[in-house]
Subunit: 339 residues, 2 copies
Amino acid sequence: MKKGQVTIRDIALKLDISISTVSRALRGMDEVKPETKKAVMEMAQKMNYEPNLIAQSLRSNRTNTLGIIVPDLVPHFFAANISGMQELAAKRNYNVMICQSNESYETEIKNVHTLVSSRVDGLLISLSRETKNYDHLHSIYARGIPLVFFDRVCEEIDTTKVIVDDHDGAFKGTEHLIQQGCRRIAHLSGPEKLAISKNRLRGYLDALRENNIEADENLIRHSTLTEEDIVQQVNSLMNLPNPPDAIFAINDPAAIQAMLILKEKGIKIPGQVAIVGFTNEPASALIEPSLTTLSQPTYQMGQIAARHALEQIKNSDSYTPQTIILKTQLIVRNSSRRI
Amino acid sequence: MKKGQVTIRDIALKLDISISTVSRALRGMDEVKPETKKAVMEMAQKMNYEPNLIAQSLRSNRTNTLGIIVPDLVPHFFAANISGMQELAAKRNYNVMICQSNESYETEIKNVHTLVSSRVDGLLISLSRETKNYDHLHSIYARGIPLVFFDRVCEEIDTTKVIVDDHDGAFKGTEHLIQQGCRRIAHLSGPEKLAISKNRLRGYLDALRENNIEADENLIRHSTLTEEDIVQQVNSLMNLPNPPDAIFAINDPAAIQAMLILKEKGIKIPGQVAIVGFTNEPASALIEPSLTTLSQPTYQMGQIAARHALEQIKNSDSYTPQTIILKTQLIVRNSSRRI
DNA sequence: TTGAAAGCGCTACCAT
DNA sequence: ATGGTAGCGCTTTCAA
């Protein structure tokens, strides 16, 4: 007897009324007689009816689903973002479909196709590191699918972007080190052309300049951020004739790496070298010494991004794209506290 | 002119052929003339046609989507699991729809309804802490929707479960402490009725027994695992007339918490009290001293769970439910190394 | 207050 | 090799 899921037709048959009436009753329209409504509701309950969202979607041309593409959903930053998105979406009766690009441009393109084919009502994306060509995103935009970038954004598309104020964060982190008495502050940066690297580097440089400290080329290191490369960069820094008294790292993993290397060398933190990271990973509060860092409002970031996507879905005409810049917060811990 | 997405009908109209032919051509059926096929393909490309998975799903009664329910997708354990699932699903041309129960029974029920309504082809779930009633899951099972439990499973439903060998892990962790010379080993456990608590407690007790160490009721603490409760339990343990020389904690966060408390008290780790955790969180390798723990194959766990769900979807008749028990691996670090 | 029927985009069956 | 058509489950006119 099991022929798959129960449909409104099954209910109609049982009650010997029309499909239309069942449909109306189920959605509580008040043009249907109360007792009919009651009978339908009870029968639906009894038969374990579950509405078929697929059919509804086909009809309404809306899936109530947000597509999300991230490079990798494991890192805390992305996990928290997605969590915020899912949470808010659920509140508004939306689902989320999630893809990982694995930092691959090709995969990211595939993901876009998948989500477009799934007819998601909106798309939230944080770009892969490889992505240099934006045709697949232009195509989303051209289709009129609400599109929101978060964290790793594409400047050349006029749509809502939610980002962290990297410049401001780097500025605050660097200035904090200066206030602690550091004067030779190194910057362990990431790949040179990455937006994030550029912005944090600028914040670092501006903080130095505003405090009348001359920047030293030797103290600025662009790293691939692999384990080996960090080892090499830190060693090279400490072997300078005039080594740094502080390191401002582009992110917490790099900062933690650096700390481990320094500790192995017997260098006192923060006494000899103070450290500041960026992103506030869960581990950072727990290591020894605890790491001073800039916390990003990750969960909130996801919520805001999702809210904007939904906003845009709702008012596709009147909606105006915005760039939302979230401030980071300096969390002072022991790796930098000298005073 | 923009009337939403392009359909096969649009292509058929342009080419002045029938819808059926377009459909066939698009799917590369060889009963269609090569030149027609080529024309269709080119036109589809040119018009930026994207197949409508919703329509396909309605027709085929398959969505190519797996539903996933976790208590919270932020913790590394769940994030890695989901990542494994998504990865494998993508490989087999499946999508994932993800819900968070927030450890709430009510929300979990809502999630189940959502995913059933979305007609996911299979469901992967790790139960909320609150869930004691399993009717919503029985209903899934009764509907014939492939169901796989991972980590937090429901024993009373005969379906595939992927779990970690908690007993074995706890046994290995405890035995390791014994080998390090500890004799009064406390166990910081979780809520008493939780399966995970029970299994790890049994492993702990069995290790003691096999090594002829008498278990001491005072050293076994069931905690709610909130910050305050852990503080209280650890303090209480250390205030015993005969305090423990080791703590085996139910998970890494609890172990790390305990370590912080002990360090504040000036108690040497591992000298006075050795510590072993469970789960191998990323933070655990980085704290001081680094935490000995049992690593779980999280990513692999997700892959296996997804593989079984897909297997079951494919061969719904011949498939036999299994319980897959994954072994943990003891990772010895400094928090327990006494010899 | 209810019913009949069209149609969302697609596939598959039956013709030709 | 191609076209016509029914139907997946639902909503929404239009009629009654």
